[in-house]
Symmetry: C2
Subunit: 302 residues, 2 copies
Amino acid sequence: MTSIEIVEVGPRDGLQNESVVVATVDKIELVRRAVSAGVRRIEVASFVNPKKVPQMADAAEVIAGLPDIDGVTYIGLVLNVRGAERALATKVHELGAVCVATDSFAMRNQGQTAFESVDVARDIIRLGLAEGRSAQVTIGASFGCPFEGDVSPDHVVEMAKRLADANPREIALADTIGVAVPSQVTDLIGRVRDAIGDIPVRCHFHNTRNTGLANVWAAVEVGAATIDASLGGLGGCPFAPGAAGNVPTEDVHYLLDRSGVATGLDLDALIAANRWFTDVMRKPLPSMVARAGGFPQNIRSN
Amino acid sequence: MTSIEIVEVGPRDGLQNESVVVATVDKIELVRRAVSAGVRRIEVASFVNPKKVPQMADAAEVIAGLPDIDGVTYIGLVLNVRGAERALATKVHELGAVCVATDSFAMRNQGQTAFESVDVARDIIRLGLAEGRSAQVTIGASFGCPFEGDVSPDHVVEMAKRLADANPREIALADTIGVAVPSQVTDLIGRVRDAIGDIPVRCHFHNTRNTGLANVWAAVEVGAATIDASLGGLGGCPFAPGAAGNVPTEDVHYLLDRSGVATGLDLDALIAANRWFTDVMRKPLPSMVARAGGFPQNIRSN
């Protein structure tokens, strides 16, 4: 693997669980800064019930305010057909559907069983593709569930197979509550890749138990095409007890760049964006690379 | 790899860089709690200049106060022959010598070039063995230097070879400033193992840039016998700008245990020790597993 795609999810997953509702103008600026740092795919909003997730109530306004930039893809997250229709009324380039791997969690997250969430995701993907947009899907809680504990890999593979029928741009495996370890990542990605043919695998890790970066590396080594990351490392799920932040974009970039895997991102620009974002959020952000800096180059000459 | 040894370094590396000087009685209690949680080798103190590192001034008192427990090894860190003699005047079981991989850092840390630090470490090892104690050595800054940047793997291998002549119990590679990435860990451990025959490799990682746990996993996969970790994840080096905590014992245990690699440690006891230690230090500790808890088992039946 000599290069990898990073999807910036800070404007959506990074903000949806924060007690502060970030202003629309600041969300747009966050996207702008991520693009300036080299990001080419960004999850910019979610079209969910604004009563349940008020942090995302301005989804249409955020997207209306985004600059059109050649080669940059904006993703809107949707949980149902109504959300997909709202998203398709905007200029968003790509729909991101969400399934959940266990019935208990899927019921709390979106009022469906796991396989019902697959059916809905297939409808969303087909609707998006029919409207000329890109569409993909994430299987949440693929590595463990806050309510059920272990999740059967065979079950996740079966969900992925059914999703593949709808021809999504990619299928993502999400460790929504941050319980995965690298050997599990290697195993599950291998099984899913074997089951879905040419469809690329994206991975979404939360760093709840300090294994997030180890899981990113395992995913890259076993052939994941794309990694989700969040500037600063904010993130969480309103319906997942104990979930902590996404893997920080700065830290994922450091890991991959020092490993000889190109990300297309610029660390100085990411750290500058982190400083601005820290001011917006008025609290320290989890990214460790933003605090420590990159590899100490050319120190001797200072 | 079905099991791994964890050396608890909290009482030494965890405390040596803290602004609060922890009371002798609390250091002894920290050791006692680590042993209760299953730890069998512990770095309990360092015999360094008390004017430079006042946090370790009570090394002899700490060791005098430790309980004698079958199968438990107490390690004292020493930087020179004088420190070794002080350590040998106590009941400490094992001397831990320290070299540093670059001249700039070795000079600041202990007033020697890198190869001079090797000569001193060999003297310390031989002195310890002659006195019937165990002895080992750590090569600091093996993966990068705060003053020189990149460190040549060939140079680290040459240091390891010279150290192996003194027949230490093990040779450790330390990422003192937390810059390593897994591919580098795999490469360097492989080279060092090839060069030192049957002498086991221990690894010491700091989680300064969020890659610590990824490096632990890479080290375990490539055959490191032992991993250093610090309860709560405190740690740092007084002479290494920007160094952050050791990999937390709780988090390393979680990673390995969920990967099917036995550590001999008990997570509940580690988390209880973390709560007590947090009260002693009067601040949140970096361990994420202590905050989030282990894998959500049997949640459904609650």
